[in-house]
């Protein structure tokens, strides 16, 4: 849940990358770390205990100050993918403002992807988050692999479900910025609608996105033309 501090004029937003083990959540984060200028992001924190594997998640802060002097901090998290880390997953998901679901596009992974999708819906609800209103973006990762679902299947999926579907090869950095862009955009609109970012805090969608993406290596990605927010 987005936090506002009216005294210090700060806004803190939480974005979570969810998905099955080995679907590429950390790879997404690492690619973003490479592509975002150190001026607007902190270190990539990886809690990866190889010995007992109790914890496994990544966190990277992205921050900027708006023209109106509001400090915005966007924290990106990944959840641990292994089945056994259910409680950690639920804790990390607490109070999310937007979620990217990173799926492995291979047909062989379809069952596990579906299971994790349902697991995510369950954990969102357990945290009092409504999957119908929470901004969610689906990333179909590993599009370069042999068994991956074809473009036609992806567009069928896009037509069938509400969240946007973005193809990606995170290991090569493809689709990673697109996913973040779609996510941040939806996140802004959702928070703006609830709390009036533009009216009360003088932050427009354009400024919000520019403050981040002006510092992102955008090679190979043209942001969509600004459009009227649709629901």
């Amino acid at each position: 849940m987005v936090q506002f501090n009216a005294v210090t004029r700060e806004i803190s937003i939480k974005v979570v990358y969810y998905g099955p083990a080995l679907s590429g959540k950390t790879t997404n984060m690492q690619a973003l770390y490479q592509r975002i200028d150190a001026k607007v992001r902190g270190r990539l924190m990886t809690l990866d205990t190889k010995d007992d594997r109790t914890l496994f998640f990544d966190m990277m802060p992205v921050f900027f100050r708006t023209r109106a002097g509001v400090k915005v901090k966007l924290k990106l998290y990944t959840v641990p993918g292994q089945v056994m880390h259910e409680s950690t997953r639920r804790i990390v998901l607490q109070g999310s403002d937007a979620v990217a679901f990173v799926a492995d596009s291979r047909r062989s992974e379809a069952a596990s992807t579906l299971a994790y999708w349902n697991n995510m819906l369950k954990n969102l609800e357990a945290n009092g988050l409504d999957p119908r209103t929470l901004p969610i973006v689906i990333q179909m990762n590993k599009r370069d692999l042999e068994d991956a679902r074809g473009d036609d299947e992806i567009s069928d999926l896009t037509a069938a479900i509400r969240p946007p579907v973005i193809g990606a090869v995170a290991i090569r950095g493809e689709g990673v910025v697109e996913t973040l862009y779609a996510l941040v955009q939806r996140c802004f609109r959702s928070i703006d609608k609830q709390f009036g970012l533009e009216t009360k805090w003088q932050i427009s969608e354009r400024e919000f996105l520019d403050k981040i993406f002006a510092h992102v290596d955008m090679r190979g990605f043209t942001p969509p033309r600004p459009e009227a927010p649709v629901r």
């Binding site: 939480k14 205990t49 109790t54 914890l55 921050f63 924290k75 950690t88 804790i91 109070g95």
Partner: protein
């Protein structure tokens, strides 16, 4: 929804992210290495670390002059509080004494967590003491001050910035590591708390169903007790009237009628015995058994039990021997101990094939227990069955086509009765070689409050 989300999003003060004592040690050695003082303040302006190197005499001397003291306090205040921006760069503060300070914000995740103040040092370009210092007092001794000032390190500005940058890099790593450790620890605790809560919920559900099962079991025992009683009453009449007919009270009988009546009586007795066993076990389970203790001759009880099973054993072609030997009298419930021995002996007969032998022996187990053993050369019991042998309704062969009859109550009754005496039951057995069942009874009857109910059968009754 409340606005108090997880600890992951909390902003923490510098003190929580650094181990202050260890951090002070690092600052100390850093200052000693570069021979320049170092101060660290948190966001609220609290001083966390203060290391002084070389300036004690110089500043101490200035401090002795009232005007010097005043200006010194003002300088320190500026260094500590003046805005220095939110960029990772150093701001220089000039002291009226000609010394210099450099201050830089500690930034983490884009937030200002505090500031580091490097100094005082003497700028490389300072040629002589400035007028602002010389004028603080009429009796100011410039020669002495100059002498003191040589103890403070001279640093070119560029070098000061480099040293400070190096220190800021160290702080950054320490803060990051501290934050990472803190999150890891908190997440561990949160995850365990969550798992604990879930386990507690499951435990509660299990306890509930356990309570329900116990209640059902109690109802079952009550039902059995009532039903056994209800079954016994008419059965007594069946047996009684058969007996009366056999005695000719209803008129003369043909040989065939006698034979049939004999069978009715025998089967009636069997049925009665079975019902009595069920009644016993129900009473035990309901905790309603009371012992009537008296002085008992165990040898007599052993002979009684053997006498009871002797006709059946003879019919099966088994050799039976009873060797009580010299035994002390014991405090026990005569009927219950006899029934235990009869149950064990009957089992021995049932499970020993023709030509086998049954031996009933006894021995004193010092200091104050008496053991009675019933040994047979029968089919024995596999090791895997031994732990559950004394459970209610337990049958080694639970199939419907099993060779040996019985309700699976005999041993359970033995165990309950013996334990009610404060004793114990034991079994040693080897398949196809035979078994020895032993009961250990205290010689001086122990008072066990009421009776220990036997364990209820774990699975559904079999056989």
């Amino acid at each position: 929804m409340s606005l108090s989300p997880s600890f992951l999003q909390q902003r923490l003060p510098l003190q929580d992210l650094l181990d202050l004592r260890a951090f002070a040690d690092v600052c100390q050695s850093f200052s000693e290495l570069y021979r320049v003082g170092l101060k660290v303040f948190d966001e609220a302006g609290n001083k966390l670390v203060d290391v002084k190197v070389g300036n004690a005499d110089f500043c101490g001397y200035i401090w002795t002059k009232p005007s010097g003291r005043e200006q010194c306090i003002a300088t320190v205040g500026r260094v500590k509080q003046d805005a220095i921006g939110e960029d990772p760069s150093a701001t220089a503060f000039q002291c009226f004494s000609g010394c210099r300070y450099m201050a830089q914000p500690i930034l983490y995740e884009g937030d200002v967590m505090g500031r580091v103040v490097f100094g005082p040092f003497v700028p490389e370009d300072l040629v002589s003491l400035p007028a602002s210092l010389l004028g603080i007092s009429s009796d100011f001794d410039a020669r002495l001050a100059e002498q003191y000032q040589t103890k403070i390190r001279r640093v070119p500005n560029g070098t000061a910035e480099k040293i400070l940058k190096h220190f800021m890099d160290l702080v950054d790593v320490m803060v990051f590591t501290g934050h990472k450790n803190l999150i890891a620890a908190k997440l561990h605790i949160e995850a365990i708390t969550l798992s604990y809560r879930e386990l507690q919920e499951k435990n509660r559900a299990l306890e509930d169903s356990y309570g329900k099962l116990k209640e059902l079991d109690r109802l079952k025992s009550n039902f059995l007790a009532t039903m056994s009683h209800e079954l016994r009453t008419p059965l007594t009449s069946v047996i009684g009237y058969s007996e009366m007919m056999l005695e000719g009270l209803g008129g003369p009988l043909t040989a065939e009628q006698r034979e049939y009546l004999g069978i009715i009586m025998e089967k009636g007795e069997n049925l009665l015995q079975l019902i009595t066993s069920i009644l016993d076990i129900s009473k035990i389970e309901a905790g309603r058994v009371r012992l009537v203790l008296s002085e008992v001759d165990p040898g007599q009880l052993m002979r009684d039990a053997v006498a009871t099973i002797l006709p059946l054993a003879r019919k099966k072609g088994l050799k039976v021997s009873c060797e009580p030997g010299e035994l002390p009298r014991i405090q026990a419930d005569r009927d219950k101990v006899r029934q235990c021995l009869v149950n064990l002996a009957s089992n021995a007969v049932k499970f020993t094939p023709a030509g086998g032998a049954i031996t009933v022996t006894a021995q004193v187990l010092p200091p104050e227990m008496l053991a009675i053993h019933v040994t047979d050369t029968g089919i024995g019991v596999g090791e895997e069955h031994l732990p559950r042998l004394f459970d209610v309704f337990y049958q080694v062969d639970g199939s419907s086509t099993r060779e040996y009859g019985g309700a699976g109550l005999g041993l359970a009754i033995v165990k309950s009765f013996v334990e009610a005496h404060g004793g114990s039951v034991h079994v040693r057995s080897e398949p196809s070689r035979g078994s020895t069942f032993s009961i250990h009874l205290p010689i001086q009857g122990t008072l066990v409050p009421a009776v220990t109910p036997v364990e209820s059968p774990a699975p559904a009754p079999r056989g």
